[in-house]
């Protein structure tokens, strides 16, 4: 068995009944914020894509996972214990911010559920970044690691209760609020949200080249 892609689990941190953060040894593996890895239990033939949750300069790797009903890998990984091994392929993907834009452009990050993961990595990697983050969840307790974001930049949209900053889906917020066409928009998570958000942003005059999407399912 290949061993150069094996990483040790450091901790499992439960954020809700179903969402958890796996912290793993980094072993020097480089990545760019926004990229994902293929993660599975060591020795298993099954793996899945997970966005890297931690920052580029952290000395560990983290991913934020939601256990999916009827899901295979998200259930297996939830049972991991510190000290156990996982295998990582990657990093992969192009859902990244070009270096020349990081400190000069303004960004709108829109994520549903665990689709907030790459934005967590952006914010940790680039502390100076000028962003607004729209996080869409059903209930307020799913505002994963809310304290890691600047409260003035973080807009929690809750569709199932009124505990967020905004009651309703992120797409509803988007329709009702201004987005200037020079904003770089990053959309991540559920396909339906991304599809709808694309159309709304187009109507607001944001050119397609400024809209980037990472579809989870």
């Amino acid at each position: 068995m290949k061993t150069d892609n094996l990483h040790q689990v450091i901790s499992i941190r439960n954020l809700t009944d179903s969402a958890y953060v796996v912290r793993m040894s980094r072993r020097g593996l480089q990545f760019r914020a926004g990229q994902h890895i293929l993660l599975g239990k060591a020795g298993s033939i099954h793996n899945r894509e997970y966005s890297v949750y931690s920052g580029e300069n952290d000395d560990f790797f983290e991913v934020l996972i939601k256990e999916v009903d009827e899901g295979l890998v998200s259930k297996q990984l939830k049972k991991l214990k510190p000290g156990e091994m996982v295998q990582i392929e990657g990093p992969l993907g192009f859902f990244t911010i070009p270096a020349e834009l990081v400190n000069s452009a303004k960004f709108l990050f829109i994520g549903t559920g665990t689709g907030i993961a790459p934005f967590h990595s952006f914010v940790k990697s680039y502390p100076q970044i000028d962003y607004r983050l729209l996080h869409g969840v059903r209930f307020g307790n799913e505002a994963y690691d809310k304290m890691d974001y600047d409260a003035k930049r973080h807009i929690l949209c809750t569709s199932g209760d009124k505990t967020g900053n905004y009651h309703g889906r992120v797409t509803k917020w988007l329709k009702e609020n201004e987005v200037s066409p020079d904003t770089h928009c990053y959309l991540c998570g559920n396909f339906n949200m991304i599809h709808e958000a694309f159309e709304i942003l187009e109507k607001k005059g944001v050119p397609p080249s400024n809209v980037h999407a990472e579809v989870y399912f």
């Binding site: 894509e49 992969l92 993907g93 192009f94 396909f191 991304i194 599809h195 694309f198 187009e202 397609p208 080249s209 809209v211 999407a213 579809v215």
Partner: protein, 429 residues
């Protein structure tokens, strides 16, 4: 002298690799014969991109075995990566060589004939160590610049069988092109799995193309299949250069934004349209060809109608239609709402009809114009056949005085209707 025969399935990259192997065997005193003939060695360079390609690959392996029960049958290509274990168990096959070690097939066969028992896994993995194909089946010289893909489209098995994206160093590519030009080739075709993502030591795809165009000599450069992501507008401007042929095979896959998102394609239909419009406004006759997948999981009638609309609107001169087929281990395999074969067949037929109509319309629009044709072969009945810079297939009757691999200026006169239509031309100088 031992006889060796090759059969290539699938993409241009496979074709390039077969050409390079054939050339190596030819230089090593093997006689390269047609696959239909009796040979001592058969090399089947397989494809696994759809169920159909799996089936064809298996049939070809059995054909090889039936042709000569004593022959060595070597199976390589993407099926060798995807189904290694089951192929190794097959009695019809002597050696299974994965993509990474394909270039070692010559050494494997040589060891075999020296009475050793070579283990293909024991050879070094190197996806670029092919020799320059001097003796090829084509007048176009394919140059491999890249291998593998990191896009991970949800339907696609390629990242699994070709691995992560790797780019060949620019200097090696330029040396290779100088060599083939020295051997007399007049057309260079860039190949790879996802060439627009070329990235080697700070050189990106557009910069590589610019460097190639600066090479001296009477040749032209063709970009083969490319994904509509990864390159910038600067690339589109390079078509101003007279050596760069005004043709792109730009893979659309679907005209529906929703389907493209579910496929995890890295561009939108709007962006695709924009690229086509930019090209056509700068170069009105620009030839666009494409691939379309019909019946992707969940593809609704409306979503398919958007593909139909785009196929009509963008006037592709050729559309390669694929019926979606489930590839094990891909995300799309786990998607709900798989589309029935019946609907896939219907949709494929609709696209096929549009493809023929738009091919004829494109050819018609080019009649009366001139092309620089590269003669690829002269048939027994003295018809010269080849392609113009726009990648239009051209035929010239009574052309016994022409020779293979010659550039000739022609005027396009009329359409030659056949299963694969061509354009009849006359020589103008």
């Amino acid at each position: 002298m031992k006889k060796i025969a090759f059969k290539t399935l699938g993409c241009r990259l496979n074709q390039y690799e077969t050409d390079a192997l054939a050339s190596r065997f030819h230089a090593g005193s093997y006689e390269v014969v047609d696959f239909d003939e009796q040979a001592d060695v058969y090399v089947v360079n397989t494809c696994t991109v759809t169920n159909q390609s799996d089936q064809k690959s298996r049939q070809t392996i059995h054909q090889a075995r039936r042709r000569n029960n004593d022959a060595l049958v070597v199976v390589t290509g993407c099926m060798a990566n995807n189904y290694k274990e089951s192929l190794l168990e097959s009695k019809s096959i002597n050696y299974v060589v994965d993509n990474e070690r394909k270039s070692a097939i010559y050494s494997i066969i040589e060891e075999h004939y020296r009475g050793q028992v070579p283990d293909p896994e024991g050879f070094d993995a190197d996806v670029f160590s092919y020799e320059t194909a001097t003796k090829t089946f084509h007048t176009r010289s394919m140059i491999k610049i890249q291998d593998g893909c990191d896009n991970f489209c949800t339907f696609c098995i390629i990242p699994k069988v070709r691995g992560r994206a790797v780019s060949r160093p620019k200097n090696e590519i330029l040396d290779n092109i100088r060599q083939v030009l020295g051997h007399g080739f007049r057309e260079v075709v860039l190949t790879g799995v996802n060439i627009g993502r070329y990235d080697s030591e700070g050189t990106n795809f557009e910069q590589l193309v610019e460097s190639i165009l600066e090479l001296p000599g009477d040749f032209r450069l063709r970009i083969s299949s490319i994904e509509p992501d990864g390159f910038s507008n600067r690339f589109l401007e390079l078509f101003d250069h007279p050596k760069l042929t005004p043709h792109l095979h730009l893979c659309l896959q679907s005209g529906s934004e929703a389907v493209l998102l579910r496929m995890r394609r890295m561009y939108t239909a709007r962006e695709f349209r924009q690229i086509a419009e930019t090209l056509r406004s700068r170069y009105p006759n620009f030839n666009l060809t494409t691939d379309i997948i019909v019946g992707f999981p969940g593809e609704s009638d409306d979503e398919f109608a958007q593909t139909v609309q785009m196929a009509k609107e963008l006037r592709f001169s050729h559309i390669h239609t694929f019926k979606y087929s489930v590839r094990s281990g891909t995300r799309a395999e786990r998607m709900p709402a798989q589309v029935s074969e019946k609907i896939k067949n219907q949709r494929s037929e609709i696209i096929r009809k549009i493809a023929i109509e738009s091919k004829i319309a494109y050819f018609n629009s080019m009649l009366g114009s001139t092309q620089r044709m590269l003669v690829e072969r002269i048939t027994d009945s003295h018809t010269a056949r080849g392609y113009g810079e726009h990648y239009i297939p051209i035929r010239i009757e009574n052309a016994a005085h022409l020779s293979r691999n010659q550039f000739v200026n022609v005027r396009l006169e009329s359409i030659y209707m056949a299963e694969e239509p061509e354009v009849i031309a006359t020589i103008i100088d």
